[in-house]
Symmetry: C2
């Protein structure tokens, strides 16, 4: 399940029907609603009734409801009878929670990748993403940096080969996505980013699982702490 164009900008690993790749209406609704949330069209706290969504997506309420149930299970929305779905805001404490779990999961992913070993092509992919990050920073293009950063992490987690870990990480990314994008221009320049990622790639290339894990956990922990402090300092509680 690779991201399609529909998922551009998102690390979501959408679940689709098992038997065929023909998208049913529920899948369409899920993808469309999720996109609205991830790209900020539906901001934190926004509500949308089943019938509104159905009208907007030009389908009946049945597939829309299924989509909303799925989004609820992913922690993206809450569903309140007579109020439809409401996009769950992300507070600083949510972010702390997300990053605590992400640190554990991605650290494990890094360790698994190092243990499994990595092909030259895969290594080139990771190094390529690091190079993209460097290029972006030289141009002071934070947006491109974020995209390259995301690409790096996506490759990394995928390489772990643990489907459950991949799914869970994807879910957390989606929950944090909007807040990360909204704070992108507010955060300090990630000047150590390139070095940290490169160190991780080195540890992986050396097959050093414990080191890869530590390097990556430290990286994720620092990023999380930075974001949480930023949200706290700016009093941003509903992103």
């Amino acid at each position: 399940m690779l991201p399609t164009e529909k998922d551009a900008g998102s690390a979501s690993m959408s679940q689709v029907s098992t038997s065929t790749e023909r998208a049913n209406q529920a899948d369409v609704a899920y993808g469309r609603l999720k996109q609205l949330i991830l790209d900020g069209t539906l901001p934190a706290g926004a509500q949308m009734l089943e019938q509104e969504a159905a009208t907007r997506l030009e389908m009946s309420r049945t597939p829309v409801r299924e989509a909303m149930v799925r989004l609820r299970q992913e922690g993206m929305v809450e569903i309140r009878p007579r109020h439809g779905m409401r996009v769950l805001p992300i507070s600083a404490s949510d972010m702390a929670e997300i990053y605590a779990v992400l640190t554990a999961l991605e650290g494990t992913a890094a360790e698994l990748v190092a243990q499994r070993g990595i092909t030259p092509r895969q290594l080139a992919q990771l190094r390529g993403a690091v190079a993209d990050m460097q290029t972006a920073l030289e141009r002071s293009d934070l947006k491109a940096w974020a995209a390259a950063d995301e690409q790096f992490h996506l490759h990394l987690v995928r390489l772990s080969g643990n489907s459950r870990l991949i799914q869970m990480v994807g879910q957390l990314w989606d929950q944090a996505h909007r807040a990360r994008m909204l704070t992108l221009q507010l955060r300090p320049t990630p000047s150590n980013s390139v070095k940290e990622h490169a160190d991780l790639v080195d540890a992986i290339a050396a097959g050093d699982g414990p080191r890869a894990r530590k390097v990556h956990e430290d990286h994720r922990r620092r990023a999380g702490t930075m974001l949480v402090d930023l949200l706290d300092r700016l009093g941003l509680n509903q992103l």
Copy 2:
């Protein structure tokens, strides 16, 4: 969200309607179907059509379908058009995957608990579960041991206070539950179990986060390895 009687034997943190605690039919269907899976009534590979489930649960297909979608998202079943839902079997490699993620998450939970500190009452709860495990082992009652073990882990993860971590761990527990129960009488006597859990409680009581994490990760890693080896050795691939 505490386990209700309906969830006895399961660590599932079921998601219910937000606004009221009045269970709607979809919630009922979800709980009932999940119970059938967890208690082995619906074994690995078992299929159940929407209409069969609807008939059995004495409701229409609509809430049944929602329940199946939720179970699918939790990794408990797959849904194949015209074949209904099928209970996903757990293989040795699935178990390896589950335990790799559980080790990461529960290790983090242990660290969080130690960092947050713990009340005397909470400490007594954990020690109580350890004592229950000891009592069960003295009686060679593996079933009681498993229940006490599960209670310990449930307390531990809850005490982390990280709702996302709690939900994810619960999901993995549910996926592994049937396989763990089915192999309970096949596995070696968990003779180090009491000591390992007691060591963990000591680390937590001492507020030693890194130590708690390490003790618990080692514990979980060993348990996972033991189970995976057991499944491999016995050629059990569809539990």
